[in-house]
Assembly symmetry: C2
Homo-oligomer: 201 residues x 2
């Protein structure tokens, strides 16, 4: 899981480099939260007390920095899937609903930083994040499907994308309750049988 593809030992970082990296991630978290995923990277470097060159050495582009900011949240989301699945008092339907709510909150958080990353899933270093989330979604969805509470023709990637869509469409919405309404509707769709026997392609 943590072994690098190259096989050789990952070169140990200098302590000041690690420190600066942490500072950058912390600053990025604040600034992205305040100004959205399009915030100035210069501002982040300034806030972290380092030069722009240092920022770009650690994070060659915006996506990588976004991914770093979100890593812990992504992990939390995956852990949440495990927790919910382990909880015996919850029905498969409830597990799915609760996890979807958590995922929506995550995607809408920080002015859509999470969504921004998931949308551009094809970015080189964003892929990991995306895959991890889809895997978590798959476990929750499969459980629901086994219990007959989710349609069988639905793929985990589609579920993720649907909720991401709700997040993206409502990030700037004035109507505060809209995201919740749309998620509820989407869950109805996941639960519903295909219309007129038309399964998904």
């Amino acid at each position: 899981m943590t072994t690098a593809p190259g096989g050789g030992a990952p070169p140990p970082r200098r302590t000041d480099a690690r420190l600066n990296r942490d500072r950058l991630v912390a600053a990025a978290r604040e600034v992205f939260a305040a100004s959205g995923p399009g915030a100035s990277l210069n501002e982040i470097a300034r806030r972290a007390g380092v030069g722009p060159g240092t920022l770009y050495r650690h994070f060659p582009n915006r996506q990588v920095l976004l991914a770093a900011v979100l890593t812990d949240r992504v992990e939390a989301l995956c852990a949440r899937a495990g927790e919910l699945l382990a909880e015996e008092s919850l029905s498969a339907d409830e597990v799915l609903a609760r996890w979807a709510e958590a995922f929506l909150a995550h995607a809408r958080d920080q002015q859509g930083v999470g969504s921004a990353l998931l949308t551009d899933a094809s970015y080189d270093l964003g892929v990991d994040c995306h895959r991890v989330i889809v895997d978590a979604a798959a476990s929750v969805l499969a459980h629901a499907q086994e219990h007959g509470t989710a349609r069988c023709d639905l793929a985990a990637a589609d579920l993720v994308q649907l909720v991401t869509g709700v997040a993206l469409a409502t990030v700037h919405a004035g109507d505060a309750g809209q995201a919740g309404r749309l998620l509820s509707l989407t869950l109805d769709a996941v639960h519903a049988a295909p219309r007129k026997g038309r399964a998904l392609a």
Copy 2:
């Protein structure tokens, strides 16, 4: 409809100004299609053969230019709603599905230019576009609701936002059929009864 709020006659534009405006819209259509809604406005001005100042006099910001590019498409979409409703051979369900497909195609067109505008509905001059679309959606949705083929607790704005979400989430998707699958799912939700009697808030 076309009368200005001021009451006075809208000042007639000089012919060269009108010509330049048309050139700008045409160039914007091309450039947005090639580079997405975040394309360089300078590049658009260059392509149109005018200076940046001219672009900004006609279109004080990006949203206004986007709206201008999309005006004809928005009108086409509203006309389509009327056509579909008038067609007697179509069921209310089919009318809704067909219009939603057309809307999705519109929103996904030009790398999400349409979605970009609809998402930021609160922008000053984008509001008209947004309202017009929601009105069209309302007519199609009301028809479906009267015929019992769409749940009654759904608002037109939510329908629009759902499809916009599908568009936004799939603009950069590698999977070509995904948008269609997600729309189909969403339509199932529109059609479905609320789970466990839970209506939308």
